[in-house]
Amino acid sequence: MTLPCCTPRKLAILYIVCNSFDMITYHRLFLGSQCDNDCLVCPARNDEKNRGLTELIHEFDALDDPENIELWGGEPTLHKDLVSLISYARSRGARRIKLATNARSLAEWDVLTSLAEQGCRLFEVKINGSRPETHEAVTGARGSFDQTIQGLQNLGTLSSSSKEYGSSIYVGARVAVCQANFEDLTSIVSLLISFGVDRIVLARRGSDFLLGEAAQMAANAMKVATLNRTWSVCEGFPPCLMKACEMHVAELIQPAIQERERLKACRACAYKDICGGPPEDYIRKRGSREFRAVSSSPYLEDLRHLLNTGSLYAKQ
């Protein structure tokens, strides 16, 4: 999937749609498109254009409640003013500053500690394979795997051994599930467990593989995570493909009313109000035979309550 002419705003909207799982609401600040990876699954074009510090500060200052922010876009650690931006955000009330990163720069211990020192303590590391050949088949960047692994290693060290930062360091991992890596998911999850990550998100990207097969792989990988006391969720997999795994489906944990037009099969589904259905491009390419209406669910009442809880606390 390529979107060569995305504006930052369009990209931001796309990102929100694609990165739905977070119990905490973060304001996402798009830093630019400069990146040292060239991912198959990335909607952005690496044109090395980053937004200036003044513009970013202006956007930050316009936020109603700047307590939680996520810095993303391209590879944020390549932005020359990242430390200044973090420092500014912290001084203006940000309490959770999250970095969506490929962690390559975090292979340098000093880079990581300077970010932590300024107040960036939450990290979401993108990793796409358990081996260099798989990971780099997705990132398109030779040597990226070793650096990402070293970055994860450093994050683990900072989290477990640092008295100063220890309990405030949170490391999530995000895997873009695609044709190149869906058979490697269990190994990726096992690798991530060894680094002691706090959460793993398996996010479907693209439609050039059989969703049912990938869903099975994702379910197996999440089972491995659970057996190893690590929390994991999947995104972009319709619940009808994730039977017995409902507790790990991001769209059920954070239900939202979906008003899309539905496939015929979906109209009778128990989850029809909160499931967006299979991706349209996937249906165009591969048809809808894999998808079957879920006739009933023991969780429907609770999901309705979850929806109401969301609206209740939104009023506070």
């Binding site: 119990m23 905490i24 307590e67 912290r90 001084s91 203006r92 009330g93 309490r95 959770r96 107040g119 303590r121 939450l122 309990s167 405030s168 360091i169 949170y170 999530g172 706090d198 959460r199 659970t226 006391r229 690590t230 929390w231 507790m247 790990h248 059920l252 944990i253 969780y299 609770d302 999901l303 309550h305 979850l306 809880t309 969301g310 209740l312 606390y313 939104a314 506070q316």
Partner: protein, 431 residues
């Protein structure tokens, strides 16, 4: 009484750096008796539950050579206590071992039946009972059979005596701080203005024990507060009252005592409040009292679950109370329990979402312990509850929440609250 002083050792495993207020009360009450004061030497020994080693405690006991050993028991420390008791019995078979505390009290006879090393189990409040035991063992006054509120070993049998009513006038118990039994220390000093709880939450031991509340006199509380707050080295301390804002009259009185004694900007930390009852007036009193942080529910945000466990919960009033306290600069810690009957995985998710929406300073997640003396422990069939009968009594399932879901909910909640609690302290500068 023997000629030389009899040595009594009271021992507990606590959170690191903390003293045991309960053992302080027991020692202070015993020393009130002139003969006991003259002829016994009572020592309190506190070990860190996280780092304290049983063999380290055993070494201390062998050095001290007590004539009577009292062990304070909680669900988190019971395994260590039993291991210690077994070892002590091997080395000093003649030293009576008395156990008490919430883990043992309601099932004291059962503990004695299962653990040969234990000689006496105290059913409830320990102060008066322990004094009677001292008299019995050292002054040969009375027999164990005549001491109410204990279970004891008689030959091969375990005898459960009648329960003893609690001490009505709490001022009969001398203050451990005013008598010098405990020394106030920064951050780990605990005061108490009353005992009991007006609520009957199914998972909690406190409310189910006795009907009614018993109060220390305000003069006594005032004297303790003045002692603690008169020490400039003490920056913060705690009240262990089950509900600090019990009612407006009590809160007003306690707040005025604290306000008048506060010369060094000493703060009160992690007091328990009934949040639905918090209004503007309550917040004013909390501020006057120097409250820095409070700990509160909701334990779960599911009304049906709250009802089943006998807890009052009004989500809107609760949210309002949290907001009012936060606006006044008071940190609010919200507690959630995973595994309550009535909940399930997605209801736990809803509780986490509800708690996060209130923006508390911290969310504290724990797994349900089905504690002796609680209604959940006494009536497991009502809830389809399955749990470990041995401490720490973790729940393993109930009629709405199978173990697999509890396990998943613990993973989810731990991850989500860890992310939430990674927040840095508030920091705002001017424009």
């Amino acid at each position: 009484m023997p000629n030389s002083k009899s040595r009594i050792l009271l021992l507990s495993f606590n959170a690191a750096g903390h003293d045991s207020l309960a053992l302080g009360y027991i020692k202070a009450f015993a020393l009130k008796e002139p003969t006991v004061c003259r002829r016994t030497q009572i020592e309190i020994l506190s070990f860190s539950n996280e780092e304290g080693d049983v063999r380290q405690a055993l070494y201390y006991i062998t050095e001290y050579k007590p004539h009577l050993l009292g062990l304070s028991c909680y669900c988190w420390s019971m395994e260590k206590i039993l291991e210690l008791a077994r070892s002590v019995k091997q080395i000093m078979p003649d030293v009576p071992i008395v156990v008490g505390g919430p883990e043992v009290g309601p099932v004291a006879d059962q503990y004695l039946e299962k653990n040969q090393a234990l000689d006496v189990g105290v059913h409830d409040e320990g102060e008066a009972v322990f004094l009677d035991l001292i008299k019995c063992y050292f002054a040969r006054k009375g027999r164990l059979e005549d001491i109410t509120g204990i279970s004891f070993r008689k030959g091969q049998e375990v005898v459960r005596n009648k329960d003893r009513p609690p001490i009505k006038d709490l001022d009969e118990i001398p203050s451990p701080y005013l008598t010098g039994v405990l020394t106030p220390r920064d951050g780990v000093t605990y005061l108490q203005s009353f005992r009991g709880c007006p609520f009957r939450c199914g998972f909690c031991y406190e409310g189910g024990r006795h009907k009614g509340l018993r109060f220390f006199s305000y003069e006594r509380v005032k004297a303790e507060v003045e002692l603690v707050m008169g020490d400039p080295g003490i920056r913060s301390f705690h009240f262990v009252d089950s509900v600090f804002n019990l009612n407006p009259k009590h809160l007003r009185k306690i707040a005025s005592i604290l306000r008048d004694a506060n010369r060094y900007d000493t703060r009160l930390r992690t007091i328990e409040v009934f949040t639905e009852q918090v209004d503007e007036e309550t917040v004013n009193y909390l501020v006057q009292a120097g409250v820095q942080s409070v700990e509160t529910g909701p334990q779960t945000a599911i009304p049906e679950t709250q009802k089943r466990i006998g807890r009052y919960f009004d989500p809107e009033k609760f949210a309002r109370g949290v907001r009012l306290m936060q606006e006044a600069g008071i940190e609010v810690w919200c507690d959630l329990i995973v595994g309550l009957p009535g909940d399930n995985f997605f209801r736990c998710v809803a509780s986490v979402a509800y708690a996060m929406g209130l923006k508390p300073s911290r969310i504290v997640m724990s797994i349900l312990h089905v504690l002796p003396g609680t209604s959940l422990f006494q009536e497991p069939g009502r809830f389809g509850l399955a749990f470990d009968r041995n401490p720490p009594h973790y729940v393993v399932g109930n009629d709405t929440f199978p173990f697999e879901q509890i396990y998943e909910a613990v993973l989810f909640s731990s991850s989500a609250t860890r992310e939430y609690n990674a927040a840095l302290p508030e920091k705002r500068t001017g424009n």
